[in-house]
Chain length 345, copies 3
């Protein structure tokens, strides 16, 4: 698809500086700009690229004024990043949409599919499943018995949803995600672990996104709950009976142990671990690779394993490489003091 | 399914305190108890919930005596948690069981299936595969050529088992687990890595449970061995030629490098890493996020990366945030000593 | 398959010490050697096993001379490990090769398949896909629309490749790997995260190996690029817009955040985390569980979270368990100095 600067500026209600007739047909990062692409400049630290980019159009913030000549046509908008997102959204909406029930899929006669649902080949829709309108079930997805899936949900290839789980409207589940596998619950008797049946389920509220190969276990009883607007990156583990508050986001490879409760609006860096039965207050920020072993009050900013306030973390991290020197210094001082004491007595 | 307190007490051989005719049809945690549910009280720290729970029945330990009136009917048993497990087991056993070979599955003519095996749609059973009686192969599972699967094994949707692997009786493999992918073995020549073919296999002994999206690599030669009763949570990595001793359990996202040998009855917290060729003694307990880079004697309790005794770990962890202060303090003392020496000379 | 020592020595151009007619039909580690197996001795620390191994043949380096009698037949070669790899390669090449298009696969009429391609049952090949000659697409793999796959690529069971990605010649993708899922990109407005469409792709150059359940996200725009010869172990996360340099290798469970750039020939231990937009110089070595939060120059050898030079890391790690003692010692010294000062004044 080809668009002129004029068409894009009209769509974004932006102001053109340069040639309104220049055409683009793809996006690029400003530092990788090529002819016939549109780039954007939002972070001031990338400003210098605008003078050398080969992109034909650059979206800039309204207050940007170049110091030097710029060969690209500029489109000035209130927020260049948001404008880019809107354009990407537009580009995305023009992509062909999968529709219909492909042959070689398995749909249980007792399943109820809403209007306009896509079911890919080799997808498996179990008994009594309910799927809302405009949902897309890609090939090789597995929807266990009695699962309920809302409207406009996207289930990518190979997602597995165990029986009885509930997926809210507009959720997106990426390939390989596993929803509702058994929680890790055993009773130990004479050194041998006996399985505790896990008869609960997983509930994803609306607008949840689940990354590729992320796993969310079913509750032992009741539900593991992922609240509205939560975004989970790839390869995350959410154990049984956790509850993740609204609009909390987690980077890849985070692990949350059983029955932990996270508040709203938290941000977890990659590879964070949260202990079992821990409560994390809303709007907490937890640095990458942190380990949380005690309850954390609202608005905490912590890092480390075990975690402590992030400001102290970076200060202590500077000292850690100096520890061998400190150790020698400390022992040298002890010696000196002993000698001073000798001299004095 | 509805049960009265009397029916449940009879099944558990427990003693009723309250109304024997009250009916329940679901389980709940005591703090989330609703009418028509049964809860349990085992951990004394939850005792206060028993006076306010809306659950109609609560399982309690025989020695429990309420301080205040309790609206729920109590059932007294020797071990409330074990009794709950027995009830969950009962509830689970009443769930419908998948049976038969679904159409649109692929079963090689040379495969041998035991009595009463379930094969879901889009499951793939390769050449010369042997599957024991009562095994369940869920949809989209892949069983490579020459794999042997024991009796009463459950292979959930989308599990992939490469050729030649062996799965013992009563094992449970959760969705997305990958058994027998190539170990990560390369020889480096002039900066380029050349693949070492991995011609061994993976052997799971009896009663092993493997979590969702966990990966266990095949041996370069010989077998990667997971002994009887091992329980692995989700997203764990077991590299080639490892041997995991009986009844060892690992929380999610643990990674075990090549040729490591773990003893019996070990407990590994989440996100632990074990180095290659390491030996871990039986009954070791390794705290979450630990990194093990040297052999660990039997009965070790360690934590940290690299790991050291867990008691020291928590003591040192308290000091780490104080390091910047210690650093300043140390340098101040050095200065003072220098001045004292000056004064003395 | 059975081979004599003579046949093996001829193939390897090695020299026999012992019985040239002894026959083997399998491989073994020297410490697990059994009759009719061939083992190898490369690492001097295993030398003592050669005097007790039950293997009938042992590959040894040309300069090896036993101190005591050895019952096995020795084959002397320039490099015992490389010779083993060559034999494993030979054994592997004799295994039966999958061929043809299995029924119950889905191949879009617009897809172009090269000569001699294998497509397993329940594999899904989307529109306009191009697959080179000798490629193997195992059962239940998903190849999205417009994907391009080179010659001699192996895609194991259940791999998912999203639309528009490119897989170079001779790549190997293990079961459950997900290539091209959406990058984790959102714009936050009033506490709510809005998805940024991810319209780029993933490009794997030639000879890349991707481990089981590893995930590589598509770029927001442009490409996430994995250069020639990169080897990725299992359960690794590569975020959107990363670029991984030639012949870089990563152990399991590494996580690379968005837009990070790694140079050539780097080696990353297990569970390493690399922050977003970080640059790692070529030939860097990063110890297991390290966290990288700043750019790292070429040839760095670092460890820790946050990482610092590996030599210092091990020295500091020895001190950390002594911190409580140091803390007490420091405070005791401070007290003593105060008393000394009192005495002096």
């Amino acid at each position: 698809m080809t668009f002129t600067a004029q068409q894009i500026a009209d769509f974004l209600k932006g102001e053109i500086v340069g040639n309104p007739d220049v055409e683009v047909d793809n996006f690029a990062k400003i530092e990788e700009g090529k002819p016939r692409t549109i780039a954007f400049l939002s972070n001031p630290k990338y400003t210098h690229y605008i003078y050398e980019t080969k992109a034909d159009i650059v979206l800039v913030n309204r207050d940007f004024t170049p110091d030097k000549p710029v060969s690209a046509t500029l489109i000035k908008v209130p927020d260049a990043y948001a404008a880019l997102a809107a354009l990407l959204e537009l580009a995305n909406s023009l992509a062909p949409v999968k529709k219909g029930i492909e042959e070689m899929s398995f749909v249980s006669p007792s399943a109820k599919l809403g209007e306009n649902v896509y079911v890919g080949a080799f997808a498996y829709i179990g008994e009594q499943v309910e799927i809302g309108r405009d949902a897309k079930i890609y090939p090789q997805a597995y929807i266990g018995d009695n699962v309920k899936i809302g409207n406009n949900v996207t289930i990518y290839a190979g997602v597995k949803i165990y029986h009885g789980c509930v997926i809210g409207d507009n959720c997106i589940l990426h390939a390989g995600a596993v929803i509702g596998a058994d929680g890790f619950g055993f009773s130990k008797q004479e050194g041998i672990y006996h399985k505790i049946p896990q008869i609960g389920n997983v509930v994803l509220e609306e607008e949840v996104e689940v990354g590729a190969n992320t796993t969310i276990d079913r509750a032992v009883m009741g539900s593991t709950i992922i609240r509205k607007g939560v975004k989970l990156d790839n390869l995350i583990q959410i154990a049984h009976n956790c509850e993740i508050g609204r609009n909390t986001v987690m980077a890849a490879q985070v692990g949350i142990a059983g029955s932990a409760k996270l508040g709203e609006g938290c941000v977890l860096g990659g590879q964070v671990g949260i202990g079992g039965h821990i409560t994390i207050g809303s709007h907490s920020q937890i640095g990458a690779q942190s380990g949380i072993i005690s309850n954390t009050p609202e608005g905490s900013e912590v890092m480390g394993s075990p975690a402590y306030p992030v400001k102290n973390f970076f200060k202590s991290s500077i000292i850690i490489p100096k520890l061998p020197d400190m150790y020698r210094q400390l022992n040298a001082l002890e010696k000196e003091i002993r000698e001073l004491k000798k001299q004095l007595s």
